[in-house]
């Protein structure tokens, strides 16, 4: 534990000795959402001043070594994993701090020295499955794509031009998220769940929410503004959306949300802060007890937000919010960009996938649409139809890599220009296919999942936006962080299709039926073909005569036999 200070002593460019090479911050962000929900986001960030290109992860201080070893072994430059239960409702909730698709989602950039990216990707996913107790080992070449436009590195990059052959993306939409994923995730934190904000993460409470997402994001970042040196950043987050209906009341408190109060900060954390978005306080007023240490006003992208700030001290605290009676009905203007996805068609022969993208902004938006469609849903590019407000339109660019059965999914990436205040629908047709008998899962009748489409855009306004800037690693970095654009990556719903599923008792039925038919047909046929019809004289002898004849016959036969023997 003390070794990194020994080994990694690096002077900053100004010649000041940095004694601690790594820094851990914990933050809790709470925002009341418009539609009777409460957004709670735990954000743990570790920044380690080490060169990720040379780091061996033999000695780590705060950075989890278990993750470091995997990253080093498989030559990973950047890693993003999320496990999510529920769907983020962009239309009513606005934008989350980190977007995540329902189920499991993994994407990673590998270093440009990697020889066999596919192999490393498979082994990386397999190792992550052990690290996070999730079935990520089902990720392989057959369900992974190399996005060209959607997943640029979030961290710093040193080469001259990007090569998308080093990025891999995959999602497992069916993956469930429960305590067994949270437990190992908590063990990667320096204080685990023993103290600090992570001690609030009690599984019984956090899984009783509308949306819960556990994520790990690792990337190299600039050490300072000059960006001559690189640091390694790890963000571990848990996002929750509580429903006031499930809570039973609008007045929330730590005890109601997490079952307990906060027992102080993590001693290893540099800062431990709680931010509560009080912007909505003007319309739906609530009172916080105890009163906050400070108020922070953030002007970002033309929008003003106020946050109540609590600095967590090394002793117990709780937090209550009481809504004051007078409530005005809020009209939430939907966010600039949101999307839906659904299946069309009927029957078990042909179907279609439709992605509807809504641009509510007053000017046009440039978006990238990414579809990762499994190989067992063969789509036809010639049926691709893009309609803007009912009129057919052309995409700026199409990147399409057709799938191959059992080897590669269908990868469709579209660059679109959405006109102001428009609804764009992207539709493509597919065929339902039969799988091989052994390829059906044990619950084949449940249906097969198609993952979310991802719609990426740089929004010009930060309305409803809570995300972090690219150069920021904490929530505090997002205050007053006005930039030229605000990246959102909207995830749509997963879809479930029912592939034609055979009756698995069919072989048994076939055997039974076939055997019956054979028995019925074969018996008479065999009789007819092998037996000779012989005419016999109908005898009317009496029983005594019959017996007498038989005895005579036996006697004469025996005599004949003896004769034969003697002949031999």
């Amino acid at each position: 534990m003390f070794l990194p200070t020994l080994l990694v002593l690096i002077f900053s460019p100004f010649g000041v000795l940095t004694s601690k090479p790594d820094k851990f911050t914990e933050e809790l962000f709470i925002k009341p959402l418009y539609s009777d929900q409460l957004y709670v986001h735990f954000h743990f960030a570790t920044k380690w001043d080490t060169n990720p290109e040379q780091e061996t992860f033999r000695h780590t201080h705060i950075f989890p070594r278990a993750l470091g070893e995997i990253v080093e072994r498989y030559n990973v430059q950047e890693l993003h994993v999320s496990l999510t239960g529920g769907l983020w409702r962009y239309e009513t909730w606005g934008y989350p701090i980190l977007d995540a698709a329902p189920g499991a989602e993994v994407w990673a950039w590998f270093k440009d020295t990697t020889e066999d990216v596919d192999q490393n990707w498979k082994l990386l996913a397999s190792s992550l499955s052990g690290l996070l107790c999730a079935s990520l080992n089902f990720i392989d070449k057959a369900n992974s794509i190399r996005p060209e436009y959607t997943f640029k590195p979030k961290g710093v990059f040193s080469g001259s031009n990007l090569n998308s052959s080093f990025v891999r993306y995959s999602s497992l939409p069916r993956e469930i998220v429960c305590t067994e994923n949270l437990t190992p995730w908590k063990k990667l934190l320096p204080c685990e769940s023993k103290s600090g904000l992570a001690s609030l993460l009690n599984s019984g409470y956090i899984h009783n929410t509308r949306y819960h997402s556990v994520a790990i994001h690792m990337r190299p970042v600039c050490r300072d503004s000059s960006c001559e040196f690189v640091s390694l950043e790890l963000q571990q987050t848990v996002s929750l959306v509580y429903d006031y209906l499930i809570l039973g009341t609008k007045n929330w408190s730590f005890r109601k949300l997490f079952g307990q109060g906060l027992m102080g900060r993590c001693p290893l954390a540099e800062t431990s802060t709680i931010y509560i978005d009080t912007t909505s306080n003007t319309s739906v007023p609530f009172q916080l007890t105890p009163s906050p240490d400070d108020y922070v006003t953030s002007i970002r992208g033309g929008h003003v937000n106020t946050f109540a700030k609590y600095v967590v001290r090394p002793y117990a605290m709780s937090l209550n919010a009481n809504f004051l009676g007078k409530e005005s009905v809020l009209l939430n203007a939907p966010p600039s960009l949101h999307a839906n996805q659904y299946i069309t068609g009927y029957g078990q022969e042909r179907g279609g996938i439709v992605t509807k993208i809504y641009n509510n902004h007053w000017s046009h938006l440039d978006v990238v649409v990414l579809q990762n469609i499994p190989w067992y849903v063969p789509i036809y590019l010639h049926t691709l139809k893009i309609e803007v407000n009912g009129l057919e339109a052309e995409p700026l660019k199409i990147r399409y890599i057709p799938g191959r059965q059992r080897e590669r999914p269908y990868h469709l990436e579209l660059l679109l220009k959405l006109p102001a205040r428009s609804v764009t629908s992207v539709s493509v047709d597919f065929d339902y296919v039969f799988l091989k008998w052994q390829e059906y899962p044990p619950d084949a009748n449940h249906g097969f999942y198609i993952g979310s489409a991802i719609i990426s855009a740089n929004l010009p306004l930060a309305r409803n936006f809570t995300g972090l800037p690219q150069d920021g690693s904490t929530i505090a970095d997002s205050f007053n962080a006005s930039r030229s654009g605000y990246l959102v990556q909207v995830r749509t719903e997963n879809m479930v299709i029912t592939l034609p599923t055979p009756d698995f008792s069919m072989p048994y039925n076939v055997i039974c039926l076939a055997c019956t038919v054979v028995a019925l047909a074969f018996g008479p046929l065999h009789n007819i073909t092998t037996k000779r019809l012989v005419l016999t004289v109908k005898d009317n002898e009496k029983l005594i005569v019959k017996i007498k004849n038989k005895i005579v016959k036996v006697l004469t036969d025996r005599r004949g036999g003896e004769e034969k023997q003697s002949v031999q």
Binding site: T5, L6, L9, I10, F11, P13, L17, N51, G85, L123, S126, S127, S129, G130, L131, C133, A134, S135, N137, Y149, K152, P153, K154, G155, V156, F157, S158, L162, I176, V177, C178, T179, E180, T183, P184, N202, S203, G204, I206, H207, P220, C222, C227, E228, F229, D366, V368, L396, K397, L415, K417, P441, P442, D443, S456, N458, Q470, G485, L487, F504
Partner: protein, 338 residues
């Protein structure tokens, strides 16, 4: 000098001797592992998940660390949308014990619970890249607890309603383990219908086996929880958990007592035991030989702690930046495309 040498040698010898004693305790095993398998999918099989988690809870409480427990659960009951109490699995309707707990680690889940994975796990023939938490890293000093629950019949156990392992395959897998020196002793426990048929074919030594019912008998569930609408736990495991809840790490209870946890009047089925392969008398085997964990601890006195030398003055030369780092714009520049 010549006078000191014999003393030194004698000291070394005694040290080596104590070392040997320490490495080979009297009961012969040096570590404990548990393989706990629930083979049933679907909500109406809630009780099987509660079964396997009951045993998981007990072995974890009695000291086997998560790194030495392989837990296979074929379906998610705790976070199932039908569960009115998310992230919990209870052992009875009064919600006495949340067997799921707050720090559960499931190693194989959902579609990963297959006969192939189970046999590969036991025999150690796993594909490359399998993480440590999914491997059974036992050796010739390992006492292994194998617990299976699910739907079975005469000579087979169903996995996920789609495939089955036969008793012969099970026996062969254990024999392979024995030949590869992957265990010292095995306690094989199975809670399914006709459970005894699963261990009838065993032919490898040092296996003590118990099944919740004899061939021709059904194993029965304990009671219904009306709030979840299905049976909550099976009889045999319910009473096994009741017994294990009263066991702690310093217990004097024996395996012999454990084999009698569920007499026929409460279990309704007859609990079958096979002890001919097991060399020891179960009444003299502490229950912690299988449900607990050996943690060899050596108490050393007279140790002087050497302070960690922190060489503060030693510094590396300032690394010269050789590369130019920059953030890439997250989205492609549309103007360059048009």
């Amino acid at each position: 000098m010549g006078l000191f040498t014999p003393i030194f040698v004698a000291f070394c010898a005694s040290l080596a001797h104590s070392q040997l004693d320490f490495e080979f305790p009297k009961n012969g095993h040096t570590n404990n592992w548990a393989v706990l398998v629930d083979t049933s999918r679907f909500w109406f099989n809630y009780r099987h998940v509660a079964n396997v988690l009951s045993i998981y809870r007990s072995v974890k409480r009695l000291g086997i660390p998560d790194s030495q427990i392989i837990l296979m659960i074929a379906d998610d009951m705790a976070c199932n949308p039908r569960n009115p109490r998310p992230a919990t699995v209870f052992n009875n309707a009064n919600q006495h014990i949340n067997v799921y707990g707050d720090d559960v680690e499931v190693d194989y889940r959902g579609y990963e619970v297959t006969v192939e994975n189970f046999v590969r796990l036991l025999t150690g023939r796993l594909p490359p890249g399998t993480p440590r938490s999914k491997q059974l890293l036992t050796d010739e000093g390992s006492n292994v607890l194998i617990y299976l629950t699910g739907h079975g019949g005469d000579g087979f156990l169903k996995f996920q309603d789609s495939e089955e392992i036969t008793s012969q395959e099970m026996a062969d897998a254990l024999e392979q383990m024995w030949q590869k020196q992957r265990y010292h002793e095995i306690f094989f426990m199975i809670d399914t219908c006709q459970a005894a048929s699963m261990y009838e074919r065993f032919y490898s030594p040092n296996i003590l086996a118990v099944g919740s019912s004899l061939v021709g008998e059904d194993s029965l569930s304990h009671h219904v929880d009306s709030s979840i609408g299905v049976y909550i736990i099976d009889r045999y495991t319910f009473f096994a958990l009741e017994f294990l809840e009263n066991v702690d790490q310093h217990t004097k209870k024996t395996m012999g007592e454990f084999l009698n946890v569920c007499p026929k009047r409460v279990c309704i089925s007859t609990v079958g035991v096979r002890r001919d392969l097991f060399a020891r008398n179960p009444h003299q085997v502490p229950i912690t030989d299988f449900f607990g964990s050996v943690r060899p601890v050596e108490v050393i006195s007279n140790v002087t702690l050497v302070p960690l030398v922190t060489n503060e003055t030693k510094t590396k030369p300032v690394a010269q930046p050789t590369k130019k780092y920059r953030y890439i714009p997250p989205l492609v520049n549309f103007n360059s495309i048009v």
